[in-house]
């Protein structure tokens, strides 16, 4: 038990609002304004997790997005969230959380025992073992998998919602620290539409922690308050806290996620509001003010719970009123950590500061620290930390002033906490997401963003390596003023005044030496989350994984959910040393979104559940519902599949529907077919080019079936097109192909034949189409229509008429997808359901029967009609479909796909062709997708001859039928083949694919 509360002036917690929460089944107290991490520390909880590889005890190291260890599971049941960083979880009353690692318990972990053999688990050890015996790998893997992983995925559907919001703005400022606040102020004052986002609940950035600076004579947080008040007064400025910009894409498209309700108790969340919101921000100008993150130093056993960054110790103290220990050792190589030491010492903590530098910090700082009662050890470094589940002390060594070497032993200190600071690392992530490169700054010892930024991206503050507040603000002021000038706007106001303080240069040291060759001493961790130690990086390089990307991939450095925010620079530096190259030459690994993890829910936004994809309904849908249709998904449409009567299954319903249609009359909703109005003096010529068959001689009032080929000569769509007038056609397409065909027509017309005078307008949605099918269909139509002559000679098969049906203007086509006498009535869709119901009424005396897509499939298969996409698969030419009658090889213009039909293979023998199949046993319905063999005794791999594309029981024929594609099928009529599915084969005879009414008597009736 080390952490405890301590009153701090300006602390950000509200002691008037006490809260309680539960962690690993124990109830604790906290205050409003705490994070889960600060609250745990205040309660003296140190052990939070076990490490990935060795199961070593781990505690909180950071205080924000950089945290690698404290991955927790929040809440249970449907609200559970895995892998949150305790440092980023805002505490609320009743919060329930638990650790994610440790088996059987966090305190006693089996992996921890195994981890004692860590010396035999170098990087990539699994590549080198578990290979024998071959069969044992699944067994090994099971354990490897079990041992890996942090939290648990939720198992219940997410009860909360998410949304998206698009922004089109002048300026986006990322980061609400001193630099970002000032940048937003200037942009706001200049009248630009400005958005400021910060991932934290409160604006202020480092000023939330740091208490000594005065800006324009104000304390840091007073100045922040002043800024926020001003920004709130500007109508052109929006400030969003709890909003993380997690990705920067081309042309300044920034994705940011706002946590709208995660900080509220589950019971207080507003169901009308989303849990999180994804902002998609197009900003003319992005200003990156995302600051810097302090990195730790690398030294022996630097992972014992109680070892943290100095910035974390400092922040817990000043922001949350939590002292992280009673006896604290601060290890640094720079001046900034003195501030943490000083504030701790002033709060009554016993502080020792070890500085790797011989000379230490600027004199005034050293003095201030001593005055506060702290002890100062210059030229010292930690060799190793003592303690197992909590720090008990540290062994120090004396360091050489120039070389990274030990020159003598140092004291062994008894402390309960170790803070370390290896300097700041600029938060350059967003800058690099779409190709930007950070540059190494040897003075500031960080990869930083260049001062000049990039096109329309400015970088201000600590992201450019300005560690001193005065520098950060003056650079911000200058950069933003220049940017405003570029927008033709002046900037108002002077740069905020901050006293400049003398600073001593930091020491370029990342790994503190312990006097032993790397790998011989105590493990010194670089990446906590993936258990990457300094020695592992050396080993990787020794094994020739020399590219920094190989180092990353071989050791998993920076691969974790923290993406190496604390570890990367240390890792690069250690690699540089091992390679004997400067860090700048080693470079960084690639920065990619997300800056911090973002829920799939926020990414998906509103596009889930019933709005995942449009459900397209026809105008007649309510009638189908009323008749209890079962639906089939076709593209985005819902189409009636069949209309079961009480007690009927699919087959019973379909048999009834088929017979009713063949024997009397059936009715189907055909509204989903694509319809395109094609008009213009060159419409005919256009159709000639786009369809494989000829259109020159189709008279007004006539319809024709057409095949559309792609340039590869394969069938891509089909449908009936009616000639309404010499220059005017009503084209239909397949349901699924409508959009594709519409685009196809436009593209060919616009790109290839713009000289043709023709235009296309989609009318799919305008027309509701009711297909009335069967021998009694004429009678039904005659009852409904007085101004069209339905006499068989006057209105022939493949004729079209306009007239009045049920009192409505209608286009009626006598076309048939069933081989029956049939009509399709097209009316304005607002009248669609009316028309359907009128047809039902008029057909009642003939027992008119609504049918769905399944019956449609059976009827058309009985007639041998293909369905593009079912009987074809993008590899079937018209010839393969035995449809060469639909190919006008003599047309003057070389229609789309024609030339491909002449290629040696396409025109050659041995291709598969569409045939009919009759199973020898008429009761057996072949499986669709069954493969066809010539012999029963074929062995694997068998010589497959083709496959069954469509197969049904035909109630009308009282037997099964099928369509198939078969190698050289056109020459094999009469052959017996074997239809094979899942090990069983069934004999069937090859026949013509027209099973019903080969002569077409019925459809011409």
């Amino acid at each position: 038990m080390s952490g405890y509360r301590i009153h701090r002036p300006g602390e950000r917690i509200n002691r008037q609002k006490p809260l309680s929460f539960i962690f690993d089944n124990v109830q604790y107290k906290a205050f409003s304004g705490d994070t889960l991490a600060s609250a745990l520390l205040a309660n003296g909880v140190r052990l939070i997790g076990r490490s990935f590889k060795y199961g070593r005890p781990r505690g909180i190291v950071g205080f924000g997005a950089e945290e690698p260890n404290a991955l927790i599971q929040l809440e249970t049941g449907a609200h559970t969230v895995p892998d949150l960083k305790a440092t980023q979880v805002e505490l609320y009353q009743g919060l329930l959380a638990g650790s994610t690692t440790g088996y059987p318990s966090l305190d006693f972990d089996l992996k921890g025992l195994l981890g004692k053999f860590g010396r035999f688990m170098p990087p990539g050890f699994y590549y080198k073992t578990f290979m024998e015996p071959v069969k044992a790998w699944p067994f090994y893997e099971k354990f490897i998998r079990k041992a890996a992983g942090y939290g648990r995925a939720p198992v219940e559907a997410d009860p909360e919602s998410y949304d998206h919001l698009h922004h089109h703005i002048d300026v986006l400022v990322v980061g609400g620290g001193a630099a970002g606040l000032w940048a937003a102020t200037l942009a706001g004052r200049a009248g630009l539409k400005t958005l400021l986002v910060d991932e934290q609940a409160e604006m202020g950035g480092w000023l939330l922690t740091e208490r000594r600076s005065r800006i324009d004579g104000l304390s840091g947080m007073d100045w922040v308050g002043q800024r926020l008040a001003e920004l709130a007064s500007l109508p052109n400025v929006t400030v969003l806290p709890r909003t993380t910009a997690f990705a920067l894409h081309d042309l300044n498209l920034v994705q940011a996620v706002e946590l709208l309700q995660d900080h509220l108790p589950l019971t207080e969340r507003n169901a009308a509001l989303p849990r999180q919101r994804l902002h998609k921000i197009r900003a003319h100008q992005v200003i990156l003010a995302s600051g810097a993150i302090e990195r730790p130093l690398v030294f022996g056993y630097n992972d014992v719970p109680g070892v943290m960054t100095a910035a974390a110790g400092h922040s817990y103290l000043n922001r949350y009123g939590v002292a992280v220990g009673r006896e604290v050792l601060v290890q640094t190589q720079n001046d900034a950590a003195y501030e943490a030491a000083l504030d701790l010492a002033l709060s009554g903590v016993k502080v020792t500061l070890a500085d790797a530098r011989q000379g230490g910090a600027a004199a005034w700082r050293q003095q201030a620290l001593k005055n506060a009662g702290a002890e100062l050890l210059l030229g010292h470094g930690i060799a190793k930390v003592l303690g197992d589940k909590s720090v008990t002390g540290a062994q120090l060594v004396k360091l050489d002033g120039r070389n990274n070497q030990v020159i003598g032993s140092g004291p062994r200190l008894s402390v309960d906490t170790v803070l370390s600071s290896g300097g700041l690392t600029s938060t350059v992530h967003l800058f690099c997401h779409n190709g930007g490169r950070p540059v190494w700054n040897q003075q500031q010892l960080s990869f930083v963003c260049p001062d000049e930024g990039r096109e329309n991206i400015a970088c201000v503050g600590a992201i450019t390596g300005r560690w001193e507040l005065s520098d950060a603000l003056s650079q911000t002021h200058a950069a933003v003023a220049a940017l405003l000038l570029g927008h033709g706007r002046g900037s108002s106001g002077k740069a905020p005044a901050v006293a400049h303080e003398e600073v001593a240069a930091p020491r370029a040291i990342f790994r503190l030496p312990d006097g032993k060759p790397e790998g011989h001493g105590a493990k010194a961790f670089v990446d906590y989350q993936n258990d990457v130690a300094a020695a592992d990086i050396h080993t990787a390089i020794r094994e020739n994984y020399r590219s920094i990307e190989h180092v990353k991939r071989y050791t998993a450095l920076g691969f974790g959910t923290d993406q190496g925010k604390l570890s990367n620079i240390n890792g690069f530096a250690i690699a540089a040393e091992a390679l004997g190259k400067p860090i700048a030459e080693v470079g960084t690994t690639t920065y990619r979104p997300s800056y911090t993890p973002v829920t799939f829910g926020a990414l998906a936004g509103p596009h889930v559940g019933e709005t995942f994809d449009p459900r397209r309904y026809t105008a007649i849908h309510a009638s189908h519902d009323a008749r209890k249709a079962e639906y089939e998904v076709v593209g985005q449409w819902l189409r009636p599949w069949y209309f079961p009567k009480a007690g009927e299954d699919l087959h019973a319903a379909v048999n009834r529907e088929c017979l009713a249609t063949r024997n009397s009359v059936g009715v189907m909703d055909a509204s989903t077919l694509g319809k395109i109005d094609v008009k213009g003096p060159d419409a005919r010529e256009f159709l000639n080019r786009i369809y494989s068959n000829a259109w020159s001689k189709l008279d007004p009032g006539k319809c024709r079936y057409g095949l559309m080929l792609d340039e590869n000569g394969m069938v891509m769509d089909d449908g009936v097109t009616a000639c309404l007038a010499d220059d005017h056609f009503h084209m239909t397409t397949t349901t699924g192909g409508a959009a594709r065909v519409y685009s196809w027509l436009e593209r060919w017309h616009q790109t290839e034949w713009p000289e043709l005078k023709v235009r296309f307008t989609t009318t799919t949605d305008h027309w509701a189409t009711v297909a009335v099918v069967g021998p009694n269909s004429r009678k039904v139509l005659q009852k409904l229509c007085t101004d069209i002559d339905f006499d068989k000679e006057a209105f022939k098969f493949m004729d079209g008429r306009t007239g009045t049906v049920a009192g409505l203007p209608a286009r009626v086509f006598r076309i048939s997808f069933s081989g029956e006498l049939a009509y399709e009535i097209n009316v304005d869709a607002n009248y669609g359901r009316y028309m359907w119901e009128e047809v039902m009424k008029a057909g009642a005396e003939f027992d008119i029967t609504p049918y769905g897509t399944e019956t449609m499939h059976v009827l058309r298969a009985e007639k041998g009609f293909i369905i593009v996409g079912q009987d074809t698969d993008g590899s079937m030419s018209p010839n393969d479909l035995a449809m060469s009658w639909a190919v006008g090889m003599k047309k003057p213009f070389s229609f789309l796909g024609k030339r491909s039909l002449l290629r040696s293979h396409t025109a050659g023998d041995g291709r598969k062709q569409l045939v009919g199949l009759l199973p020898l046993d008429p009761k057996v319905v072949l499986a669709e997708g069954a493969q066809i063999l010539s012999n029963t005794d074929d062995t694997v791999p068998a010589a497959m001859q083709g496959h069954v594309t469509s197969s049904y029981h035909s109630a009308f024929l009282g037997r099964s039928i099928a369509m198939a594609v078969l190698k050289d099928g056109s020459k094999r009529e009469g052959d017996t083949v074997f239809v094979w599915a899942h090990g069983k084969s069934v004999p069937a005879q090859v026949v013509s694919s027209v099973f019903v009414d080969k002569e077409g008597v019925r459809q011409h009736a």
């Binding site: 919602s161 949304d163 998206h164 919001l165 698009h166 922004h167 089109h168 009308a272 509001l273 989303p274 998609k280 197009r282 509103p606 596009h607 019933e610 709005t611 994809d613 449009p614 459900r615 397209r616 309904y617 026809t618 105008a619 849908h621 309510a622 449409w637 109005d677 008009k679 213009g680 003096p681 005078k757 235009r759 307008t761 989609t762 009318t763 799919t764 949605d765 305008h766 027309w767 509701a768 009045t804 049920a806 009192g807 409505l808 203007p809 009316v827 304005d828 869709a829 607002n830 009248y831 669609g832 359901r833 009316y834």
Partner: protein, 227 residues
């Protein structure tokens, strides 16, 4: 309720939500107010502005000047005519009037041998009005376009989710959203979902004789159109 019997009944693409039953007089609160303007007449007008007489004929018949600039909308008490493409416009009016217009236009095009046409889309499109202080924010939740930048008197054709829509902005009070019948269920659900944080209410829409679109709701209610 649709009238049964011999009288043909019409159903708009959103009829299944029974919006009339939900509709209430609009109030000025923070909510999003929305409803469908059902059963209007729509025609796609195609033509070549370079052809002499085309624009004149359109204006002569409809009283609406042919808008030539991208996104421009011509408005009059009898309807609107919007630019949707360099050779394409969308005409919205009362159904009966629209039918009259298109008949006259097509006759005129034929007479003057113009390469121009109208295509009736009345069954295929519908229009919703969306108002309330945050109505543009609702669109911003769903679409990538910068809706706040649409000048008054203009429209834009863009996407909301996976649906193509046209957003017509005539005043600051609200916008009209045109969408296809088969996507209507989807678009409406999306709008309702996006509006939820602000509160969503269906409002009664009244005919306003001076308004290019609300005027079209006036009696006579659409009756049978014989083309």
């Amino acid at each position: 309720m649709p009238k049964q019997g011999f009288q043909p009944f019409m159903e708009s693409p959103l009829h299944h939500f029974k919006l009339d039953a939900e509709a209430q007089p609009r109030r000025t609160d923070g909510r999003i107010w929305c409803n469908e303007l059902p059963h209007l007449g729509y025609a796609v007008l195609r033509g070549d502005t370079a052809e002499a007489g085309f624009a004149q004929l359109v204006e002569q018949v409809t009283g609406l000047a042919l808008p030539l600039k991208a996104g421009a909308v011509s408005q009059g008490p009898q309807g609107v005519l919007m630019w949707t493409s360099p050779d394409e416009w969308l005409l919205v009016s009362h159904r009966q009037r629209l039918a009259d217009w298109t008949a006259q236009l097509d006759a005129g095009f034929a007479e003057h041998k113009l390469f121009a046409q109208t295509v009736d889309s009345s069954g295929g499109l519908t229009l919703a009005w969306l108002g309330g202080t945050e109505h543009l924010t609702v669109l911003r939740h769903l679409g990538v376009y910068d809706f706040e930048s649409i000048p008054l008197g203009h429209m834009v054709s863009t996407v909301l989710g996976k649906a193509t829509v046209q957003v017509i902005r005539l005043d600051t009070d609200g916008v009209f959203v045109v969408f296809r019948r088969s996507f209507a269920d989807y678009v409406w659900r999306l709008l309702r979902r996006a509006a939820q944080p602000y509160g969503f209410a269906v409002c009664q829409l009244e005919a306003r004789s001076d308004h290019p679109l609300f005027a079209q709701l006036a009696a006579p209610r659409p009756s049978l159109i014989l083309a």
